[in-house]
Symmetry: C2
Subunit: 153 residues, 2 copies
Amino acid sequence: MTKRYWEDFEVGEVREYGSKTVTKEEVIAFGRQFDPQPFHVDEDAANAMPFGGLLASGWHTGSMFMRMFADNLLADSASLGAPSIDRLRWTQPVRPGDVLSVRTTVLSKSASKSRPEIGFVQNRHEVLNQDGTVVMWCEGPGMIQRRNPDATV
Amino acid sequence: MTKRYWEDFEVGEVREYGSKTVTKEEVIAFGRQFDPQPFHVDEDAANAMPFGGLLASGWHTGSMFMRMFADNLLADSASLGAPSIDRLRWTQPVRPGDVLSVRTTVLSKSASKSRPEIGFVQNRHEVLNQDGTVVMWCEGPGMIQRRNPDATV
């Protein structure tokens, strides 16, 4: 597979990918392991709350995004990981039965001043449900290998 | 248990809590489910990389933080969840065998203009390893019930 290097990413490019059906079993299992608040792990308690029903932990939603991102974008890019998330918003509840996908937009690019072999790609990731509603979005840089570290940018 | 309401949080208060030993099995299991990059799931591949060895996914580190936060701070507060993370940095690798804990500082407080029954507490969370090194930090607001919604702030 041909890897995409830093030079191959274009500011403004948009990629849409992924399809993850959220299951009740996964919501409860993640909640029990990492976020055991009643609305993540206790269906009866969640049903009695104003929002009505089990909700996925925000960290679960982020982790489901990460899997789609890894399988679809990172898999064919010379990625060196990510140092940070600059902003993240959980904008709508994620419930069992939702089908999530991702839309990633390249906001900007910059070369590393200290490490000529890498560059940064600033992405905006939007996680959508089956209605096209954004349930979570985040922005942050990815570190990508440069094909031509000696080229001036 | 007496719940802590919005009024009970003081700007500048610091709470240190949690002790989570990171295991190889958990790092690989999380990686296989949510972040199947070689350095999270393939010990041999990870050992051959410059950083030398399996690393926990950043989302795994965040989820382990969430568990300590839920068990220690949210468990005794009138929390209504969190809408966002404003900044998050993964500052050091997290490896199997590391023992993580959390230090949470209240940065600021504000009443909700639209919802008098809630207030916001802006927290800075630092995740430390057994050497006291910060491996991840993030800042963001939590929504907390107000004991006295009608009180002027």
